[in-house]
């Protein structure tokens, strides 16, 4: 049985972050206490999530539970739902968020004016709260509300670094996001109209009835297409990803790390829940949405990398690489099998750990080159900031899928998942092509960073990396190896989670 404390953890996590978001602007900004407090709260929630994961899986059985908010029973009340999959994702989101904040602690100080740092803390807390709420919620309208909170917070952490470039990027991001959330809202209203419910399991039952009687299939398809498009815009699936490089490339390093590693994942997990908890594998297949997602995923894997190849700004290159990685996740979702979703979830976790590391490393390297972001300017920066150089190399090898690094684990599981699918040829060729393309832009970047440059830094002394930077980079690299070498138990755990949660 689940003890009462563990039973309340999903609610406590979200609530604590909300409270922290309200309190941080009231604390005087001395010695950056608000930021430290936010980091502490996020770290504490990571510990709570780890405990929840332990409670749900320790007995050998895989447990899951529904938490009625306000204790109103099922069809009326609002619910949170927690299983091992949700607990792992909450844990990874909190760890990645914490490391992104700590690793970029000094660059945040440079980029964000002191009077705005309190606001930055509020946004980070709200963003984490909305990510956890999207992970745990079992109610579609609550998901919509937190998608909007997520949108505002995500656009604001782009704009929090002052400057016309970030304002423009944030506006562009906001407009695209609003188109997305508008579509999601219309779709949720249609679904509510069709099923009469907002709780995911109740909707699923109603949809099964509709499908078995072959009634309202067209409206169901339309609402599924609308909600998928809306969330795909927000999670930067390829044809809708034009806003991403601006937003991720221009913001402060901590914001880029958080946006690329975490914000996209919250929306992707919402799509996974809608596909498999609300509609179910068979209905998704019947409405042909798996094929659509699969094709879009394939296109994203190739086109994201092709765009990344053309970039000369290192942050924009990493941002376009995110588009390709999002394609991998959608490829797993499009396979429409339990193994495919488990592989997609593994890739969510891998990317949530690797991409913040890459952005933190890129930030460190461009600091070492005197705040230049062009790839050619980074020549020899490894010898100024070893940890950043190591981070970039580890991240790059992981994205290419070199064995032993995190990316290899998820690519391997995606490959294995494709074997059960009739589209195996397509998915294997796309995986191979995309890996080669990844290597084409990451290998030159690593070589540039490692090449000695005698002329550099003659009239400029780069600041040494702080101890906090070194520690968080070391943890990032360790996580990368852990995920790469010990992915089998993790994948088994995710599969158990997928089986009970979805």
């Amino acid at each position: 049985m689940i003890n009462l404390f563990a039973y309340n953890i999903p609610f406590i996590s979200i609530f604590l972050l909300m409270i922290s978001a309200v309190i941080t602007p009231l604390i005087p900004d001395k010695n950056r206490i608000p930021e430290k407090l936010s980091c502490f709260v996020i770290g504490f929630i990571a510990v709570l999530s780890a405990y929840l994961l332990y409670v749900l899986t320790a007995s050998g059985q895989t447990l899951s539970f529904n938490f009625p908010m306000g204790h109103f029973p099922a069809p009326w009340g609002n619910e949170l739902r927690a299983g091992p999959l949700e607990a792992i994702l909450a844990l990874v989101f909190c760890i990645a968020m914490l490391l992104s904040l700590l690793g970029n602690f000094s660059s945040t100080e440079e980029d964000i004016a002191p009077k705005r740092r309190n606001i930055f803390c509020v946004l980070v807390n709200l963003l984490t709260a909305s990510l956890l709420a999207l992970t745990y919620t079992n109610d579609l309208f609550t998901a919509y509300v937190f998608i909007e909170i997520n949108t505002i917070a995500a656009c604001a952490i782009v704009a929090v670094k002052e400057g016309p470039e970030t304002t423009r990027a944030a506006l562009r991001y906001l407009v695209m996001s609003l188109v997305g959330s508008g579509l999601v809202m219309i779709a949720i209203c249609l679904l509510y109209d069709l099923t009469g419910h907002l709780l995911m399991q109740n909707m699923h039952r109603a949809i099964l009835v509709l499908v078995s009687t072959k009634s309202y299939l067209m409206p169901l398809t339309v609402s599924l297409a609308l909600i998928t498009t809306g969330l795909a815009i927000k999670s930067a699936l390829y044809p809708f990803a034009s806003w991403l490089p601006d937003a991720h490339g221009s913001s402060t390093n901590a914001s880029s790390a958080i946006l690329s590693g975490l914000v996209l994942k919250g929306h992707i997990f919402t799509i996974i829940k809608i596909f498999y908890r609300v509609f179910g594998l068979e209905v998704i297949h019947l409405l042909r949405m798996d094929t659509a997602i699969f094709i879009l995923g394939l296109t994203a894997m190739i086109m994201g990398s092709v765009h990344a190849l053309r970039q000369v700004n290192v942050k924009r290159m990493i941002a376009w690489s995110s588009v390709a990685q999002v394609g991998y996740i959608f490829l797993g979702v499009g396979l429409n099998t339990t193994a495919g979703i488990a592989a997609a979830c593994l890739h969510i976790i891998v990317h949530a750990c690797v991409k913040p590391m890459l952005f933190t490393a890129a930030g460190g390297l461009s600091n070492a080159a005197g705040h230049k972001k062009g790839l050619h300017a980074l020549m020899g920066t490894f010898y100024v900031n070893h940890w950043a150089g190591l981070g970039l190399a580890a991240g790059a090898f992981s994205m290419m899928g070199i064995p032993g690094f995190a990316g290899f684990a998820s690519k391997l599981s995606l490959t294995l998942a494709s074997f059960d699918s009739p589209v195996i040829v397509w998915s294997l060729s796309a995986l191979a092509a995309s890996s080669v393309l990844n290597a084409l832009y990451y290998v030159p970047a690593v070589i540039v960073v490692l090449t000695h440059n005698k002329d550099a830094h003659k009239n400029f002394t780069a600041p040494a990396p702080t101890r906090l930077y070194k520690i968080s980079m070391a943890i990032f690299i360790a996580l990368n190896f852990y995920l790469g070498l010990f992915c089998v138990p993790l994948l088994r755990l995710i599969t158990r989670g997928v089986n009970v949660s979805l």
């Binding site: 919509y144 949108t151 505002i152 016309p164 470039e165 506006l171 906001l174 407009v175 609003l178 219309i186």
Partner: protein, 144 residues
């Protein structure tokens, strides 16, 4: 076809409104008009929800006294309160999003003096080019 459209005239109006809103949000180059488009789209959704939630002949979901000190509790007397709740939540969300979008637009206007997002982009690229030229000149001077 026309008969169905007339029967569901609220829904038809909502679809047309949301189409107008979405087109404005996507295609207008003026930011204020874009934001107005967003609001039209949201309003369309509220109309749709309100139309779905209303049942003719039923009362608002507030308990009515039955005349002998008690309440009429039969659910068949009242309309569904959930859509009204959804509309309220939607309004709160749309107000905050609009405020945020307007604040960002104001920032952009202060810097570039234009509300047109394309013009702002042109000015930005121009500024960057000027900046890069300055940097190259400075570097050349240092080398010389």
């Amino acid at each position: 076809m026309l008969e169905k459209l007339l029967l569901n005239h609220y829904e038809a109006a909502a679809v047309i409104l949301s189409g107008i809103g979405l087109t404005n949000l996507l295609l207008q180059r003026n930011l204020i008009k874009k934001i107005i488009g967003l609001n039209i789209m949201d309003t369309a959704v509220y109309l749709f929800l309100a139309a779905k939630g209303y049942v003719e002949g039923r009362a608002a979901p507030i308990l009515i006294e039955n005349g002998s000190g008690g309440w009429l509790t039969s659910s068949s007397l009242y309309v569904n309160p959930v859509p009204a709740g959804l509309v309220l939540t939607g309004i709160v969300v749309s107000v905050s999003v609009t405020a945020f979008a307007l604040a960002l637009t104001l920032k952009l206007y202060e810097h570039y003096g234009t509300l047109n997002i394309d013009e702002a982009l042109l000015k930005m690229t121009h500024e960057q080019e000027v900046l890069e030229e300055k940097i190259t000149k400075a570097e050349e001077e240092v080398l010389a």
